[in-house]
Symmetry: C2
Subunit: 448 residues, 2 copies
C-alpha cells in the first residue's frame, strides 16, 4: 500500500507505553499531514483505548469526514463515547450525503438535529435519498452536479463552467421546469459551439440516466461501460435526484469484493479489528454453528461404518485423504463455474457440454491420483487391497466432485442464492460425505 499507516501505529503504541517528549513531537508532525481517509484507517487499526485517545487529536474540521469514512463498527466505538454536546457540535456540519452514510450509526435525535441545520433543499435531498435501501444507487446519489434548464444556451453552460467544477464532471444535465431529467450534454461539445446555440441541440441521444432503484453492483457495471465518468440518477417519476461518479463505481467494486471475502468466512464487512470480545464472539458463533451441522453430517456418515473401522483401522487413518482430494477438485470446478455465472456465461445451452468437460477433467485427475495414492497406500500398509479400495474411492469422489462443482452453483443461482457465498460450504459437505461413504463402503465390501 502506498500510504501504509503501520509505522504510525507503532509510533503511537510506543509513545503511549514509554513515550519520551521526542517521540511525541515526531508523532505530532506526522499526524498533521494525515488526510481524512488515512485518519480513518489509522483509528480503525488502533486498540480501543489508543483509538479514543488519538481521536482527540483529529482536527475538529476533519472529525465528521473521518467518522463518515470509517467502517461502522469502529465508528460506533467512537460515537458511543462522545458527550452529547460534542455530537451536536459535530453534526451541524453534515452534508445530506454524509448524514445518509451515518444515519445507521446515529440516535434519532441527532439525525433530527442535523436535518434542522440543513436548508430546505438539502433536507429534500436527504429525504429523497433515504427512500432507497442500502443496495440501491439512489441512496448514494451525490448532489454535486451541473444542471441547466432545458432552454439554456451554450453561453449559459460556459458561464457555469467558469465557476468551480465538481470533481468527475464531463457532462451537464438539462431538466424541465418540474426538475425532470431532460438530457445529457457532453461538456466538450460546448467548447467549439457558438454561444447562442441551444443546448438541446448538443444532447447526446445515446446517454441514458440511471434508475435510482438500480443495485450497486449493476450501477458499477453500467458506469464502467458508459462513455461518461458520471451518470445522472433519476427516480421513478423521472426526477433528476443526483449523480453517480466513476469514483463511486470504484468504491462499490472495492466494497463488494471486501464484503464477499468477509462473508465467505461468515463475517460482516463492518467487522472491526478491535471489536469487543463478546460481540465478535457471538457473531462468529453463528457461522461455527452452521459449520457444526455439516461436520456432524460427515461424522454420522462415518458412524455408519463403525464396525468396519473397528476391524480395519487403516481406513480411519486414510479417510481425510479421500475427503480432501474431493474437496479440492470440487472447488476448482466450483470456482470456474461461479466466475462463468458472474459473467452471465452459463445457461442451459452450454451446461451439458460444460458438465461433460468437467467430468472428463475429473475422470482424468481421478484416475491419475487413484493410481498415485493407491500405490503409496498399498506400499505404506503393505496391503494391495487397501490400495485398490482407496484408489477406487478417490476416483469416484473426484468425479462426483466435478459433478457437484458444476451443479451446486447453477442450482443455487437458480434459487437466487449467491453461489460465491454458500457454494463452498455445501460442496465440501457433499465431497466429505461422498468421500467417507464410498471409501468406508468399499472397505466394508472388500476388506472385511
Amino acid at each position: 500500500m502506498s500510504d501504509d499507516i503501520g509505522p504510525l501505529v507503532d509510533l503511537i503504541v510506543n509513545s503511549e507505553e514509554s513515550g519520551t517528549d521526542f517521540d511525541k513531537e515526531a508523532l505530532q508532525d506526522q499526524l498533521e499531514d494525515l488526510e481524512y481517509d488515512q485518519w480513518a484507517l489509522l483509528l480503525e487499526a488502533l486498540p480501543t483505548e489508543e483509538r479514543l485517545s488519538q481521536w482527540q487529536l483529529v482536527p475538529v474540521e476533519m472529525q465528521a469526514e473521518v467518522l463518515v469514512d470509517m467502517r461502522s463498527d469502529a465508528r460506533l466505538s467512537i460515537i458511543n463515547t462522545l458527550p452529547s454536546d460534542m455530537l451536536e457540535q459535530l453534526f451541524g456540519r453534515l452534508s445530506p450525503e454524509d448524514l445518509i452514510e451515518l444515519s445507521d450509526s446515529l440516535p434519532e435525535h441527532l439525525i433530527d438535529l442535523a436535518l434542522q441545520q440543513m436548508n430546505q433543499k438539502q433536507r429534500q435531498f436527504f429525504e429523497h435519498s433515504s427512500q432507497y435501501n442500502d443496495n440501491q444507487i439512489g441512496r448514494y446519489a451525490d448532489h454535486n452536479l451541473l444542471i441547466l434548464p432545458q432552454n439554456a444556451k451554450v453561453y449559459d453552460a460556459l458561464r457555469l463552467l467558469r465557476r468551480d467544477i465538481p470533481e468527475c464532471t464531463d457532462a451537464l444535465f438539462l431538466t424541465d421546469r418540474a426538475g425532470r431529467y431532460a438530457g445529457t450534454v457532453p461538456l466538450h461539445s460546448t467548447f467549439g459551439s457558438p454561444g447562442h446555440i441551444p443546448l438541446v441541440e448538443l444532447l447526446d441521444e445515446d446517454a441514458e440516466p440511471l434508475a435510482a432503484e438500480t443495485s450497486l453492483e449493476e450501477s458499477a457495471e453500467i458506469q464502467e461501460k458508459s462513455d461518461y465518468v458520471l451518470l445522472p440518477i433519476v427516480d421513478a417519476k423521472g426526477m433528476l435526484i443526483g449523480r453517480m461518479t466513476i469514483k463511486d463505481g470504484f468504491q462499490i467494486l472495492r466494497e463488494t469484493h471486501d464484503a464477499e471475502q468477509m462473508a465467505r468466512a461468515g463475517l460482516s464487512e463492518d467487522e472491526d479489528l478491535f471489536s469487543p470480545v463478546w460481540k465478535s464472539s457471538m457473531r462468529r458463533a453463528t457461522w461455527l454453528g452452521i459449520n457444526l451441522l455439516t461436520a456432524f453430517l460427515a461424522s454420522w456418515a462415518i458412524g455408519l461404518f463403525e464396525a468396519t473401522l473397528q476391524q480395519v483401522v487403516a481406513l480411519a487413518v486414510l479417510m481425510p485423504i479421500v475427503a480432501s482430494m474431493g474437496g479440492i477438485a470440487g472447488s476448482q470446478t466450483l470456482t470456474l463455474i461461479i466466475r462463468g455465472i458472474a459473467l452471465g456465461q452459463i445457461s442451459r445451452g452450454n451446461l451439458s457440454p460444460l458438465l461433460i468437460k468437467e467430468l472428463s477433467v475429473g475422470g482424468f485427475n481421478g484416475i491419475l491420483w487413484a493410481f498415485a495414492i493407491g500405490g503409496i497406500v498399498a506400499y505404506w500398509f503393505s496391503d494391495m487391497m487397501i490400495g485398490i479400495v482407496i484408489a477406487a474411492a478417490i476416483a469416484i469422489n473426484i468425479v462426483a466432485a466435478a459433478f457437484s462443482g458444476v451443479l451446486i452453483p447453477v442450482l443455487l443461482d437458480k434459487m437466487k442464492i449467491d453461489p460465491a457465498l454458500s457454494g463452498s460450504v455445501i460442496l465440501t459437505t457433499v465431497t466429505d460425505v461422498v468421500g467417507f461413504v464410498t471409501f468406508l463402503g468399499l472397505g466394508t465390501l472388500f476388506l472385511l
Copy 2:
C-alpha cells in the same frame, strides 16, 4: 448482469442442433447488435466447435477488438485455427496498445508484421511499452492524451479542445522539447482564462505523474485517490509515455479480484470454460498434488494413534468435527487479518493487542462449543469421558486456530508471500494436524 449473454448461448446451441431457418434468422438479428465485449463473452461461453463456427460471424472490422478483449486461453483457441493469410489481414489493423495485449498470444512473425504496418510514432510507443512487465502500469500506457509544449497558451488549449477529445480527459499535459513531462493543466482552469495566458501559470502544482514501473494494484489505488480521472505516466527519465485512465483502474480492480479468486483454487485467471481436457487436467493436477501432501501430513498424524483408534472407534467417527471447527474458526481470524494487512493496518504495534483479542474470542467460542459438542457427544455415545475429551480438544483447537489465524498471514506477508493465496491452505493443515493430535492424544491418555 445487465447484458446476460446466456439466452444467446441457448439460441446458438439450439440452432446448431436442430436449427430451423426461423431460428437462424432470429439469431442473426441478435448477433448484429452485439458490442465487441459481448462478442468476447459469448465466444468464451461456447464449446470449441460452436465457438469456431460463431467466430465466422463476427464482423470483420470487430474481429481484432474481440480477440483483444477475450481471455488468453479462449483467444488462443481461435487464433490457433486461423489460416496465416487471415491472421496477416487481422493484424494490419492493430494499435500499439492492442498489439501489447496480444503479444503473448501471437507468433513472432505476426508481431513483426503488425509492427511493419505501424508508423514510426506507433512503433516507438510499442517499444516503449513492451519494456515493462505485465504487472507494471507502463506496459498498458494508453497514448490517447492531449499534449502541448511548455510554452503553449490558453488559446492553444482551447483550439485543441475543440477537436475530438479522448474519453476520460479532464487535464492536458505539458512537455519540454525532449518530450519530458512538465506538468498537468486541469481542463476547467482554461475555460475562464483569457487566451494569452501561458498554460504554465495554470499548472496544478499538486498533480504528480505516475512512474511507469508502478505495479497495477498500486496504480489503481493512486488513481482512486487522485483528483483527476486520468494520470500521466512517465518513464525513469521523466519522458511522458502515455496515460492511465480511471477506467483502466476499474479494469485492474476487476481483474485483480478475479485472478485472486481463481488463484485460491489453484487456477489461472486465463482458464477457459472449454479448454481442452488434457490441458485443464494437467494444470489442475499440480494443485491437487500440493494438497495431497498436506492431506498425507494429516493422515500421518492420525496414524500415530492407530492403536488407540483400534480400541476406541468413536474417536475415528468424531475426528472430522474437531478438525473442521478449528478450520472454520481459524479462517475467520485469517480473513480479518488478511484484510487488515491489505489495508496496511497491521504492524508490530498492534499485533499483540490483536493477538490477545483474537485469543479471547477463540477462548470464548472454544468454551462455548466445547460444552455444546461435549454434551452432544456424551449423549450420542452414552459416555461422559469421550464428551470431556472432545470438549477439551475443541477448546484447544479453536484457540490454536485463532493463534495461527493471526500469525500465519503476518509471517507470510513478512516473507513477501501473498497471504490471501496460500494462507488458507497452510492454516487448515495446521488446524487439521493440531485437531487430530490433541483429540487422539487426549483419547489415548484418558480413554484407554
